[in-house]
């Protein structure tokens, strides 16, 4: 996969969390993910279509997403409830939109599906293509989270 496609998703993730969740996140080193095991307790997956097909996902451990959503809503959220899972879908939706806007500037037009959200310990994320999956870990003051990007050449 063209590594130039990764940066728009990293930038979009940082921008969305900063703007909607007033959360500063720090990206770690991208790596090739070889299994389907989700890195968190709640994940959102979005299908990409257009010039290429693909999927992107974002996966949060409970501790970090509860902190992000508490800031988004301006009130404390104590656990991984329906409000939080809904918010994960919308966060993924905004990251997808922001990244696709940046990709358009690079000449790549992609469309995004409505997000699917998966909740539970040890769930799996299935990307729709057999192309390599690039994972990018992020750290926040309340824990980490991971995005995954899989786009056909």
């Amino acid at each position: 996969m063209d590594v130039a496609l990764i940066n728009p998703f990293i930038d979009a993730t940082l921008h969305v969390l900063k703007t909607m969740g007033t959360t500063d996140a720090k990206p770690g080193k991208p790596y090739l993910k070889k299994d389907q095991q989700a890195k968190g307790d709640v994940s959102a997956v979005i299908g990409l279509t257009g010039e290429s097909n693909g999927t992107i996902s974002i996966s949060f451990p409970e501790q970090s997403i509860v902190a992000v959503v508490s800031r988004m809503f301006g009130e404390p959220i104590s656990n991984l409830n329906g409000d939080v899972t809904d918010a994960v879908g919308e966060i993924a939706n905004m990251i997808s939109g922001q990244a696709r806007q940046k990709l358009e500037v690079m000449g790549r037009i992609l469309h995004g599906s409505i997000p699917s959200v998966i909740v539970g310990k040890n769930h799996q994320i299935r990307h729709i293509t057999t192309y390599p999956v690039i994972a990018v870990p992020f750290e926040t003051e309340n824990g980490g989270f991971t995005i995954e990007i899989c786009i056909e050449e």
Partner: protein, 124 residues
């Protein structure tokens, strides 16, 4: 701005409805109602007088752009202020919305100030 007008917030994500509703309440709007897609929004529009629609683009059942087109083809809603608040910021989307008669366009994520500025641009 008439803070007594009813504002209809249309988004399939409860999170975004909650955030927009919170911003509107902070700005002083007293009557804010919600719908989870364009179809439900149309039904709300038939029930009561709405002064402003704030709608997402991508929604199941009926999208925001289809809602906008339906409203602009109805004489009663031709001039109804309609703000699209969406993650879709690609040029083709913005052009389609403008052609369909959108009043203003906000790309998510957005700050409360952005929504406030768009409202002031519409209502003064």
């Amino acid at each position: 701005m008439d803070m007594g007008m009813t504002v209809l917030v249309v988004d399939d994500f409860a999170t975004m409805r909650r955030i927009i509703k919170g911003v509107l309440k902070d700005l002083g709007f007293k009557n804010v109602i919600e719908a989870e897609n364009g179809k439900v929004a149309l039904s709300e529009l038939k029930k009561e007088e709405i002064g402003l629609v704030i709608a997402d683009w991508n929604m199941p059942e009926m999208t925001g752009i289809d809602l906008l087109k339906a409203l602009r083809s109805d004489d009663r809603f031709k001039e109804l202020p309609f703000i699209m608040v969406t993650a879709e910021g690609q040029k083709a989307n913005v052009i389609e919305a403008v052609k369909a008669g959108v009043t203003n366009y906000i790309v998510k994520p957005f700050t409360p100030d952005t929504l406030k500025q768009k409202l002031e641009a519409i209502f003064g």
